[in-house]
Symmetry: C2
Subunit: 384 residues, 2 copies
């Protein structure tokens, strides 16, 4: 197949990589994955798995031998290694320069701000005195967020500072200044929302509907689509997501997480240069899902329809305890014919580890949310 | 994962097996495939591939070691081998007895007839005199169909006998009586239709909408759903498909191909105990597709919704010439955002070989058919 001549390399073999591969395989594509774990979720469906540390150049070099285009499912990877490949003529989407910008939260925010995209106020800090300075009411005030500028995900690398009393603990928690730190103004939000969008090689774009997210302990818990927000807010959020892609000039899928503040303003919280957990609803909710359109983007193919077929609710399945993973309640969940359960194939459950998710669709958003929330007591993953 | 403890074995690793695996992988299941070809379409995404002739007992025995439940994507496989496994306590769905019945077209027709399901008139024949006898106007008359009772697919094993002059040629074409032969009355049909239906372990059923099929040179060319037939005919077809599953007492997916005769009667042409080419539209057209519901059936899980989301048209991509397979027109096809192309991953194109398919969805059936047919000139697979 001519299309199969474009072999794809994916850095990272977690669930996002696995779901990319499931779509790529429909087109008969050859996929090589680079991951440190031999039993990563992508391992059982990729054509070739390279097991190597994601900080080692050697793994990336090996990956490039088996791929005509390289992408990634995860942003905490080696920019120097990818840069070397890019300089050697290898194609990497999204580009290494956009990855470099996004990888550092401070640089990311600065780039967004420069482009006129609203972000919470932010500043680099190196010690507790500076944090206290930003905590003053005439400055950012409390609460404020202390963050490492790189390496964070799922709430890791973030420490909320509710009052001045938390400053020392938060600073200590994030490494006492060994890692680069920044403070961010706390946005008093009414909703956390996100938009998945894709950008093609010729600059063409496809934007998905606005999703409304609920986080528990800083990990995504539930995504509801359409978001229960005004049409004005929805349009604004989509415009921002669209603009974000132009800022980073990337090819591929981008997720823009935003706060809809109580005053109606929208601020960008974070951008991910890849398919995102809050876009899993697109598998059941849209004709072409985020993983498929990501594959189309990096192959230079036009995008599939991103319109919402019907209301959809996605709920993450996090490990409830440590041990050999055991799924509970699948049969009962499937008594509802409009439920799909996705299991990533991680053999070990850990508390809070993303083990799978389920999606519920329906005719009315209200009823769909109700059914999805009821299932939380039923579909569970425990360790035993 | 507890669900992953149910390892699935699939006899046959063609495109139907591949599409089953794509669904099974969403649930993190472990899949072993038995196929004679090391590079079969399923090879790149199954966990384990056993390369062996489908007539050899050894391959089946090996498969059974890696599977808690065995299914098949293809009916021309070894019943004695499967029977031996079934006697040894292995679970095979659909059951070997239903496979045995369905494998022999004469026995299949007899079972359907006995259950009161309308089939064209049929009879075993052993020589040209008997065929001529059935060709007489007071008997079946001409045209009539000469068929091998087993081993046929995609028009192979079928020879139309238009007039008495064709009898000798048709008899010779099908092996001059070495294989068991039957004659079947020709049904003057207005439409060829089919219904995919699934039956669960507890006997519960899920029936998909009626599909309208067009064959070219006895190979499926196009499937349109919903079928452009009366509601009465549609209900009748679905009732027949439902009844067919009870006749065979199988667990899994069954496709009932039917003729809607010009006089309004519906006759069963053929039953396949597996997901079917005419059910590929369910991937885009339904919340739960035929492959997923097949997996649910054999795992004892309740079925996902089989309702039609929107009109869908499936077109097969057959090899146009022999040689290394080359796909043409993908980019142009994807200029329509409501098209999905599926490439099975067969490296060699052969004239008439099923290499892939595409599905077009839309709001109106008429417009969707128009777009799907226009694409036939664009999306093509050639050998080079």
């Amino acid at each position: 197949m001519e299309i199969a001549k474009k072999r794809i390399g994916i850095v990272g073999g977690g669930q996002l990589g696995k779901m990319m591969i499931l779509e790529a395989k429909r087109l008969g594509l050859y996929i090589t994955v680079l991951d440190p774990a031999a039993d990563c979720p992508s391992s059982s469906i990729c054509d070739k798995l390279i097991v190597a540390n994601l900080n080692d150049l050697s793994g990336y070099t090996e990956l490039s031998k088996h791929a005509d285009v390289i992408t990634y499912e995860w942003e905490n990877i080696s920019v120097p290694a990818l840069e070397k490949l890019e300089k050697g003529g290898h194609i990497i989407y999204p580009s290494v320069s956009s990855l470099r910008t996004i990888q550092n939260k401070y640089v990311q925010n600065a780039a967004l701000k420069k482009a006129g995209i609203p972000v919470p106020k932010f500043a680099l800090v190196t010690n507790t005195e500076e944090i206290r300075e930003y905590g003053k009411p005439e400055n950012f005030g409390y609460p404020l967020m202390l963050k490492t500028t790189s390496g964070g995900y799922d709430g890791k690398g973030v420490a909320p500072v509710k009052t001045e009393d938390d400053v020392d603990d938060a600073f200590h928690q994030l490494g006492s200044g060994i890692k680069e730190l920044m403070v961010e103004e706390f946005v008093d939000f009414q909703k956390e929302i996100s938009v998945i969008a894709c950008r093609g090689i010729k600059g063409e774009k496809a934007v998905y509907p606005v999703a409304e997210n609920t986080h528990t302990n800083t990990i995504l818990d539930t995504t509801v689509v359409p978001a229960d927000i005004s049409e004005e807010a929805s349009n604004k959020a989509k415009e921002i997501a669209d603009k974000v892609m132009s800022v980073f000039e990337g090819v591929g899928t981008f997720c823009t997480e935003m706060f809809l503040a109580k005053d109606g303003e929208i601020y960008v919280n974070e951008v991910a240069p890849r398919p995102h957990n809050s876009g899993h609803y697109t598998i059941e909710g849209c004709f072409a899902n985020q993983f498929e359109n990501h594959i189309r983007a990096i192959l230079g193919l036009p995008f599939g329809d991103t319109g919402l077929i019907c209301p959809a609710v996605m709920v993450n399945l996090l490990g409830e305890s440590d041990g050999k993973a055991k799924l509970l309640g699948l049969e009962e969940a499937y008594n509802d014919p409009n439920v799909q359960v996705h299991i990533y194939g991680k053999s070990e459950s850990k508390v809070g580890r993303k083990m799978g998710h389920y999606t519920v669709v329906g005719e009315s958003a209200k009823d769909t949310i109700k059914r999805a929330l009821e299932l939380k007591k039923i579909v569970r993953i425990i360790g035993e």
